[in-house]
Symmetry: C2
Subunit: 526 residues, 2 copies
């Protein structure tokens, strides 16, 4: 595995600025070879120029060609073999087994989008044929389909070095729909990013696509990231990360002379509400489920439950006790990088100092700073105190949660009513609990993009029905998902073709339906 | 016809502030009775509180209930009879025949959305059933559908006092999908707005819907409009108007603690490109078509062609000559209000003063200021001069266009390449011209939301295939249309329901498909 540490400007490798950095392994705090070079502003412009140039021909490729390309990327990623898993492990601290699973998901996403665009109905073709004799005015022939937006900026995410980075869900949905992509690599896993970019480039060459269809730049979000978002050729942005960084990108995009959409997936508490009968009947099972969901992957999932709400009483006390015992036994784990680990401990400390908050439990083993470890921690308080301290509703990214003892169902509902937007909201209830939970469920529909009954929010299925998105600050655009096949809707726009002769129409809209896709013709599904 | 001049806060009539204004008839510059009262900020809050309260039950109504409601609005608008047409005529100067046509379109839109939500498939139901035995982890049951966003702010538009105002396309698509609406009336036609609001309120009562489902406020865009957009309960905004006003609303929405989407339809030149063979073969026909499209409705359509580009030569000279003759014979017409008329003359003057620009023709009859008239005017210049003076590419709202004599096809394409975003772009060409126009058509796909061949951009069909939207500054969100059935996509968001028992699922997602709608079940269309 020879890494060069350079930026990919399409098929050109550029050394960027004279500045340099190394990845630091969170496993043992050692710097990793080689040296990486942050891009310069001229590299941003060069990558965007190439992306814009590539768009002219890439947007004209057929669905089958793009499907072959996506499947080619999947093959090339697999061909990187254990080198990729080992580098990602050293850069992120994530266990190889998890990374092998994440690679499977990444490949699965690429294949799912390949299937979708090979089939072709995603363009939502609509045809209304002419009525030349209509009174008082003739009706023209109108045909409409979805078309790609243009160059898309994708920010690699630290917590999914494969599935939401260089060739992750954002890139796959942008490429699938005919958009070139410029990726800003996450500084936590530059080597992993370079390896995947190399795989994507091999697929670009094999598919005879223009070089500018993908570029990869290293560098800071505030400089290189913002410059990409502000570049005149950028048409949309995909981002997963912190609320502060996501909002900064959103603001930069909104302040452009021509604003562009930003799909930033940011902060979410993923509240879990436990109703009384379920609490009594499944106390231990709930405690075990919470322990797992709060601490899996060292709590570094966007859907980690950070808030658990139940009605006070003996069953709630029992839940607390059981959960406390389970959490104390959870060993601290290596977090993704030093910055996340420091922010985690700061968030813990900040929350634990809030008046009226008690420590319920923390990992009995102390975290090892050299191994960049975070320990599990759960705090507890009552609903009144939670309401008085809105800072307790801020996401603490890591194996951390706040347990709220609500005085009554009404107070539990009040907690729901006062929440900001969420990716998910979960309700545990017996059939009887759920029959009485209409108010709560309706409240939660306003607050979250995905509602879960008697399950846990971690584990995001990649499928057509998934919605991974939610009201602000969970995301900056509640109308779109970043996971599942609907994710491609973020990077397309409708175009209507009026009175076009057959030869000038895109194949998807031609008479006789040459692509054999589903279409809406004169109001009827065909 | 007794008008009260008050604001509708749901079912309450409020006199607003002590300030007052009258509509001024552009037909004869006379003030019209009665006095209208701008809303105060407390009225904004009251209307939004009522809208939010109404949303709780309105979002739970069935598609059939909302369809009945929309059809009820249509009936009540018709029942206003000639009073509505006469008041709109006096307030806007638009001829009664045009207003009768616009009323038919308004009613047609309401009925089309009613049909769509009664049928119900618009929710895009997707179901992925559980695989409890899947390895390594079970697959949960996931079901996803579109749900309403919440209270929507609609700005009445001056140029469509019926079809894009109180019960126009924005309101119809928001109400159809289960969202309450708060309308900011356009100050140009407050009486028309009150009449339509009265009709909507009758339909609200007849349908036993909560009062807050619609409110109507008078007042300035900068004060009342911005306050509505910034209100915490507002979830999205629909606007048609000027670039400056649209951008101000967009900026206000983007600066919110929780940004919300703004669908502002703003400025568009709607360029028309005439290719050489078509120019030679259809010179007079093109001149007549341009005359009509530039001057119909006194040029006050968002899709009025404001830029015409052809290749210089004898045919182009002949087009100029014929068009000049036709335009000189066009009588000045009453514009919508004094502000638009003043801005029109300012825009004309500004453009005519640009170096190297020549007057091709103007209406021979001088406009009568008392009748708020605008006269037709076309300027002409060459592509080099057009490129040197970007101010010539600014929309002049009214019966005005700039004719560009390009040196060659390459220069004509260069004009296209340098354009900002447009609602429409039109190409006139013979079959041979069009065979050679691949470059131009591909350029225009990047620039516009609707492409027209051998037609004219005015005339926006309301149907599933329509796209009325385009890249900035044509609109603030290229991914959506404000006309046609797809307009409802602006005001909805997906929600995913995981592991929901049947009793807690929305009907659209229940087993057995009780609504009989089209759904995607385990990847198959059913």
């Amino acid at each position: 595995m020879n890494l060069h540490g350079k930026n990919f400007i399409g098929d050109q490798l550029e050394s960027g600025s004279s500045a340099s950095f190394r990845a630091l392994s969170p496993l043992d705090s050692t710097p990793l070879e080689p040296v990486f070079h942050p891009a310069e502003l001229k590299d941003v412009d060069a990558a965007m120029q190439m992306a814009e140039a590539a768009f002219a021909s890439y947007r004209e490729t057929t669905g089958a060609q793009r499907a072959d390309f996506l499947e080619g990327i999947a093959v090339e990623i697999l061909a990187l073999g254990d080198d990729l898993i080992q580098r990602a492990h050293r850069e992120t601290g994530l266990p190889p087994a998890r990374l092998i699973g994440e690679r499977a998901r990444t490949i699965g996403q690429l294949q799912q989008f390949a299937q979708l665009v090979r089939e072709g109905s995603w363009v939502e073709a609509r045809i209304d044929t002419a009525l030349p004799d209509r009174q008082p005015v003739p009706k023209p022939d109108l045909r409409r389909m979805l078309q790609p937006l243009g160059p898309i900026i994708v920010f690699g995410s630290s917590n999914f070095p494969l599935a939401f980075s260089v060739a992750g869900g954002d890139t796959a949905s942008a490429l699938a729909t005919g958009n070139p992509v410029v990726v800003k690599a996450h500084s936590g896993h530059p080597g992993t990013s370079e390896l995947v970019a190399t795989a994507v480039r091999r697929a670009v060459v094999a598919a005879h696509l223009p070089a500018g269809v993908i570029s990869l730049l290293h560098g800071s979000g505030q400089v290189i990231g913002v410059a990409l978002v502000k570049h005149p050729f950028a048409r949309a942005v995909g981002f997963t990360g912190s609320r502060v960084a996501g909002r900064a990108l959103f603001d930069a995009a909104a302040a452009r002379p021509d604003p562009i959409p930003v799909f930033a997936e940011m902060a979410s508490l993923n509240p879990v509400f436990i109703l009384p009968e379920a609490l009594r009947e499944r106390t231990s099972q709930l405690a075990e489920g919470l322990r797992t969901s709060i601490t899996m992957g060292v709590g570094q999932f966007c859907t980690k439950p950070g808030l658990v709400v139940g009605v006070q009483g003996p069953a709630f006390a029992q839940l607390q006790k059981t959960l406390a015992g389970l959490l104390e036994a959870v060993a601290p784990g290596t977090m993704l990088h030093g910055g996340i680990c420091a922010a985690y401990h700061q968030g813990q400390t900040h929350a634990a100092k809030v008046d009226g908050v008690k420590l319920l439990a923390r990992s009995q083993t102390a975290p090892d700073p050299k191994q960049t470890q975070g320990e599990a921690m759960v705090l507890t308080t009552d609903d009144g105190n939670f309401r008085r301290h809105p800072e307790l509703a801020e996401e603490v990214f890591g194996p951390f949660a706040v347990l709220i003892a609500a005085e009554s169902i009404a107070e539990l509902e009040a907690v729901a009513r006062n929440l900001e937007g969420q990716l998910t909201a979960t309700v545990h209830g017996s059939p009887g609990d759920l029959e009485r939970a209409g108010n709560l469920l309706r409240l939660l529909e306003r607050k979250a993009g995905r509602l879960i009954i008697n399950g846990f929010p971690t584990g995001v299925e990649v499928c057509p029905s998934m919605n991974h998105g939610g009201p602000y600050p969970a995301t900056t655009d509640v109308r779109f998902t970043s996971v599942g096949t609907a994710a491609l809707a973020r990077f397309v726009r409708p175009i209507c073709y009026q009175n076009f002769p057959a030869a000038q129409l895109p194949a998807a809209l031609q008479d006789g339906n040459p692509l054999g896709i589903q279409r809406l013709v004169n109001g009827k599904r065909e």
